[in-house]
Assembly symmetry: C2
Homo-oligomer: 192 residues x 2
């Protein structure tokens, strides 16, 4: 395994597993098994250990999702349509693996919730990532003529709504909740 691949493969495996199962329920041995990398390499490439791996996984995932967000917000001029298509995209990403619903890039809800009280470094990383997504939403809404105040309120709520409905979707083992919140977007964006 080449040096570039090893680090990358570990980060990919970690990203997937942390987002799926959370930080505490994912062991480094599991990440190594999935990535095929040797244990010594993990601490060589990530001297900060499991926590550094998680922080980088959050950032990587945050960037990927920001890319998705940009694509959808840029593609549609109308804010309602843009947000609805984004949510439709997320809902469409769910796939069934071994009978379980699984999301390749899971939003941050789980990691944020589980680290909020027990890991300050990761809490901050999550906060920054949410903040990055939120500014993308604010930018789009301002562009569409929403007041500064309104853009902020809607954007925070949009983050909450999407994270919450992903959790609900995973709990219920159906992407139904995401499809349902999509129907409410017109009402949510009705006041400027």
């Amino acid at each position: 395994m080449s040096k570039v691949q090893s680090r990358e493969k570990m980060l990919e495996a970690a990203t997937r597993l942390f987002h799926l199962k959370g930080y505490h329920a994912t062991g480094v041995n599991q990440i190594l098994q999935e990535s095929g990398a040797p244990k010594g390499s993990l601490y060589y490439h990530f001297p900060g250990g499991k926590e550094q791996l998680a922080a980088e996984a959050i950032q990587l995932s945050g960037q990927l999702i920001a890319g998705d967000i940009r694509v959808h917000l840029d593609k549609y001029e109308d804010a309602v349509q843009a947000f609805q298509q984004l949510i439709q995209f997320i809902a469409g990403q769910f796939e069934r693996i071994d009978g379980l619903l699984e999301l390749p890039t899971v939003p941050l809800g789980l990691l944020a919730a589980e680290t909020a009280q027990v890991n300050e470094h990761l809490r901050q990383t999550c906060e920054e990532t949410f903040g990055m997504w939120e500014s993308l939403y604010i930018g789009k809404l301002l562009q569409c003529g929403y007041s500064d105040e309104r853009a902020r309120v809607i954007s925070t709520s949009m983050i909450a709504l999407i994270e919450g409905s992903v959790t609900l979707s995973l709990t219920r083992n159906t992407n139904g909740p995401l499809l349902q919140i999509r129907e409410l977007i017109p009402a949510l964006l009705s006041m400027k």
Copy 2:
């Protein structure tokens, strides 16, 4: 420690810790320390072990929160007002302990998210609890003249929105997100 107290104290401690830190980041030794109960008693009273403890904690917490929901939904005839007051109540429950924001009865977001893929029994318990809360919301909305379809869509979204904003509030260490979603309730409930 009397027999009734022992079981109860363990369940209380478990409820608080599981909801605050999640299932996987809470150890049974920690629960025992906080409750003052001896280890043998834990397995005596909860023969299903940690998992049974968590399931009962979810149910207990779900009932307590259902009580809060009922109080607020019954107190106000107007749906917008009822939901806003409920959210205000949740936001008002945050308190600062050792500089960290802490919620005595935390909604289910964390437990639901972390168990969805790794513990079927707890996933089901979470699903049932969400379902119970959701029917309270549906009932109120139907009473207020919303269509069956609309009541369902709004209720699912309300669960998602509250869970998501609690996560955001804990991540950001401020109840600001909850206060922000409260402002959007009129828009959210604007279509019947």
